[in-house]
Symmetry: C2
Subunit: 233 residues, 2 copies
């Protein structure tokens, strides 16, 4: 059995952005450089190969910064994708021929994900990314390689972490109403939630602290404000 | 940048076994074959290289079966370990020289884990494993490579899945008492739990169904029996 000379490893980053103004969830995509007059460039998740002696977490941050300019995110490794067919689609062959020394090699990829408030970050595309842009989660096109599948699994992880680790609270202001919280969950889960059930679910949480304070400057009846205090399980 | 000929990928399996009789949590370890008169063989997690065109989940099941005889487990991928120094310890050099074509190569490994009722399975060591055995979680020795670290992270995942996905219920009989459930959680979390807090936590679960039935054949006051019905979140 000979194993060498057949394998490479890359990182692909799924960065979810919450857009306060539009009240929507977006995903950070790059557009690959145009390499042919006849074929339109594909959109893809920001991703690239891991260097020879590089740690994965460091690679994830480097790759994301090189392609999109984003730095300082907490990127979480969520899955290793290794289907031997994942780079064999015809649509990807041109790009692989141009950008990889050995385009036939098996490449496994580690999915990393993060979620941020879009407005806090600025995109600066470079390397083989001709563009970096936020695309609404409902308007994701066919992506390069197996990136639609990677995105799908990242979204599953985001939902699991929303339920189990309350990561949604990091996207809210310090003081918020239960309506804002429900709205955010409806965006993440992409469905309307029953108000009564949602409140029953939410109020079981010890970390949700009702404040002695109500909304100000609203025309409707001001709602109770809450804050969130993370505690260890 | 040249990337080829420097990388390989392996799988390491962390199988937790719950021992009904001893009321303890164990981990499946193999002992490497003796390759020197002067150096004692090391214990390790069952693990081996992924084949050239092999899917990861298939590889995980193959590797576990080849080394320990276990089949039919649900193995869950939980993390990719890629520290470039992870195979550079002197203690591992003899084994790598003997069993790897290129012992200097960087090998990244995917951790998979599973939890089973020990009594349902029989161990049959083969390949480079001279033994396969259950070792109490409190008595794990220094293992080969970075396997103590991999085991530690698997245990973290087991605990998270116990809280979030109720996987502990798969280790209990169909009908159980709250004392049995608490006992199992104390074993998994390795600490005594306050009975009142535990019951408060547990009784929030919709999936826990109180039965119209009590324990039989016990000398103490018979306790209420419960069953567990998994529902989708």
């Amino acid at each position: 059995m000979l194993y060498s000379n057949y394998l490479d490893i890359s990182i692909d980053c799924v960065v979810f952005g919450f857009d306060d103004n539009e009240n929507s969830l977006k995903v950070l995509l790059i557009e690959q450089e145009r390499i042919s007059d006849t074929i339109d460039p594909q959109k893809a998740l920001p991703g690239d190969l891991v260097l020879k002696e590089e740690d994965f977490d460091i690679a994830a941050n480097r790759v994301l910064q090189e392609l999109t300019g984003l730095t300082g995110l907490f990127l979480k490794q969520f899955y290793a994708f290794g289907n031997p067919q994942r780079l064999k689609h015809e649509k990807d062959q041109n790009w692989l021929q141009k950008y990889r020394i050995n385009p036939e090699i098996r490449i496994i990829t580690l999915g990393y994900y993060s979620i941020i408030r879009m407005e806090d970050y600025k995109l600066i595309p470079s390397s083989f990314a001709s563009k970096a842009e936020w695309v609404d989660i409902d308007e994701i096109p066919n992506l390069a390689f197996d990136h639609n599948e990677i995105l799908e699994m990242a979204l599953e992880n985001l939902r699991i972490d929303t339920i189990n680790n309350n990561i949604s609270f990091e996207l809210l202001p310090k003081k918020f109403t239960l309506a804002q919280l429900q709205n955010l969950h409806e965006i993440i889960f992409d469905k309307e939630l029953d108000k009564r059930n949602f409140r029953k679910f939410i109020k079981k949480m010890d970390e949700l602290i009702p404040l002695n304070e109500k909304q100000k400057g609203v025309y409707h009846k001001p709602a109770q404000l809450y804050s969130y205090e993370r505690n260890s399980k």
